[in-house]
Symmetry: C2
Subunit: 457 residues, 2 copies
């Protein structure tokens, strides 16, 4: 606990779950996720039926709970929610997550209003309703029905619970971790604005991702994002870019998705990095978590094979990166250290016979002249790539500049990629994806350069 009022949501010592305790029901699955995630605090299931569930005693009501409770997670039917909130308020609980749906998202605005009023009366802060819960993997705290996140450095703040769930499942497949996960649903009380501020202060969070379909308090959101983006990168996936998407977004939430260009301009002003979907987000946030920022946009590509190097150069230039050729003096210094067949342009093509020494020499040299490097290794099945990985790790470690790698691919580079992972060097499927990430890191550098003056606007 850092002493922040919202810590009760993210690092509670005791959590109550008001909902069904039958297997397959949301209430039960929430408790199971906490248990299987090895939560170390107290878990109190609440259901009039009493008895036991998953080894925990079930209490008949909130009022019957023993000791201090920090958070209540509610998955009850409508008629029972207000009563639970009243009991929670009387017990001094100040934080509630309401998973239950059927509120403003289906036009039931009155029920949502009553929910908020009840909570306010007791000074309870709310996340939800109509949400998929939250997670703090570092505290092994998983009050959500979604796939449990691994601990990591990216916070995901999502308007759509389903999109959040899909992102968590994809992340698991990829080994990508999260610092926090928050599905805020109808944001009847706490929403993106309040949570952005919380995450900007959160020590485990290095990147904040916002998935949104629309905003309801636009100015406040942009102010919150701007302020957060001075502290750490804020990445947005904004759905509803097109006519079809906008129509779908407005049918799906209570908000009206705005015109896409307006969003782009506003995002730029607020220092938000926009990506198209979850795959781009993973690539970028992995780099944010582990890479220094580039000082400028000059990128060197070091490769052992033509084709993939060219595709990376194409992508980098099309995204506005500078892929200029090395200076004559750099070429001169490289020549004696590389194969006579190496191509000393950009990409620097070391040719297939290169290993540890050539990669280390080339990367070290280009990092003296460029702001960042993409290192490609197209491996052949019968050659060990771990030497190349060691060369890259060594040279990258000598300077604080971003180095992204694409060791291709799969089984034949598994050991080498394991070494890169340990050294916190980000390895992506293709050089093109490295180029995309570098273009966004460069955007981030520009955002920081124009701050804090831009904040005065």
């Amino acid at each position: 606990m850092t002493g922040h009022p919202l810590d009760s949501f993210f690092a509670p010592l005791a959590v109550a779950f008001a909902g069904s305790v039958k297997p397959g029901k949301i209430g039960f699955e929430l408790i199971r996720n906490m248990k299987e995630g090895n939560y170390e605090g107290e878990i109190y299931p609440i259901n009039p039926a009493g008895g036991d569930v998953l080894g925990y005693r079930v209490y008949p009501s909130v009022s019957a709970l023993p000791g201090k409770i920090d958070l209540i997670v509610i998955s009850l039917p409508h008629q029972a929610i207000l009563d639970s909130l009243d009991q929670a308020g009387a017990r001094g609980i100040k934080a509630a997550v309401v998973i239950s749906s059927g509120f403003s998202e289906v036009g039931n605005d009155q029920a949502e209003k009553t929910l908020v009023e009840t909570a306010r009366r007791w000074g309870i802060r709310l996340i939800g309703p109509n949400c998929a819960g939250l997670m703090n993997p570092w505290a092994r705290h998983f009050p959500s029905i979604e796939v449990r996140a691994l601990p990591g450095y990216t916070a995901l703040l999502t308007q759509s619970g389903a999109l959040g769930g899909a992102a968590l499942a994809l992340a698991e497949e990829r080994g990508f971790g999260f610092s926090k996960f928050i599905s805020y649903g109808n944001r009847c009380d706490l929403g993106d604005i309040e949570l952005l501020a919380y995450l900007a202060d959160d020590p485990q969070t290095r990147a904040i991702v916002v998935y949104m379909e629309g905003v309801d308090r636009g100015r406040e959101f942009l102010r919150a994002a701007k302020s957060a983006s001075l502290r750490k990168p804020v990445v947005a996936i904004k759905a509803g870019r097109t006519r079809a998407g906008t129509r779908a977004a407005s049918s799906h939430t209570g908000t009206m998705a705005g015109v896409d260009e307006v969003y782009n301009a506003a995002f730029r002003k607020a220092g938000i990095l926009r990506v198209e979907g979850v795959e781009e987000m993973f690539d970028l946030c992995q780099a944010i978590s582990h890479c220094p920022l580039p000082e400028g946009n000059k990128v060197a590509i070091v490769t052992n094979s033509g084709g993939p190097g060219i595709l990376a150069a194409d992508k980098a230039e099309s995204l506005g990166l500078n892929v200029n050729e090395p200076s004559p003096s750099l070429v001169e210094s490289l020549k004696p250290r590389l194969s006579p067949h190496a191509s000393l342009k950009n990409p620097v093509d070391l040719t297939v016979e290169s290993g540890y020494e050539e990669y280390a020499a080339a990367l070290e040299a280009v990092l003296s002249e460029y702001d960042a490097a993409i290192v490609i290794n197209v491996a052949t099945p019968y050659l060990d790539s771990t030497g190349i990985a060691r060369g890259v790790i060594e040279a990258a470690g000598r300077r604080r500049k971003p180095v992204l790698t694409s060791f291709m691919a799969g089984r034949i580079v598994k050991d080498a990629v394991g070494l890169l992972d340990e050294a916190q060097i980000v390895n992506l499927a293709t050089g093109e994806r490295c180029a995309f990430v570098l273009s966004k890191l460069t955007e981030r550098t520009k955002i920081l350069e124009r701050s804090p003056f831009a904040l005065l606007d």
Copy 2:
């Protein structure tokens, strides 16, 4: 063997390998790949040292080989290549793959000219030099040092051996198969033009992919591609789109990469589908191998959750697909069969409580009005998705229209995706990727509509 003169390359009964037989050397690794791939024909290593390698007798020279040989694969140093070719010619061998490098790609044009002249004298057809070999996984024939391909329906024809190797390694990771793999290197004799014609006739090939950095006989290439594209889809990855990429491409091969817009126009005229890289290529070719073509561009999106549906709609519309809303009569027919909370627009959002029946009913209904469908299932860990998969398979099976799915994601939909795979329904990581593939399938439909008249140009 289909009786085609190039069959000696792809379905030989006996193959000779002239090169080093020391472990780690290319000659050895070629033989190992053949052996580990369970090639059923005869394998004849050739090396003056004699002895045995990997259980095969090593012959001292080509002349000393017993019986009929269909193909010779050469990884010798320059001075020994011509002698081997002469001996091969004298033995009646008509097909040779030259893996060795150091020819026109490093400015050694004279050596390459002599190589071609020697081959011509004997009527030998050549693939290479400076190439990564070829594969016919259906014949378990793997004269290449790259990761052995699984059998599949996509032929990959690549100017860059390394790009080919990277694609094979990525494909293995994804379970993607190939009908043929050909790295043609410097194309001193057989190149993209001749091989396009061969693959257009190849019964195992349903899609032909060409990776190219530049063309040397532009008109002939476009004519060959046009002719092939009347038979089956031709997909191109053309590197060297930008100034940086072009510079790299021209340093890397003997050819000058052309202006990108010229390529785009020429590709369009020749009926070539252009993609940016190998990941897009895998997605598209998987669909080509298993999906019927859409008759038009009207796409319905069926989902159980808002966010991912909106992202797919955004992508579809931005790529020119028609994501219009369903007709009033379709809405009327859907209403009684779906949840009262379902959103009967496009995306059709079935909501999270939907399963087998709702998916089957919705998909069947939209396929009566739209040309294609994207089906998204954002799964929760505790609900079984196999019922949804069965609903999709049943409804998709009733009409010959393309249906792409995105079951999200990973472990929690593994069983369901297994069922989709068996039913040959293509499942991609995101709805956006489905939208991209459908846009290209629609392009293919248009190509076929304007043929064969366009061919008269």
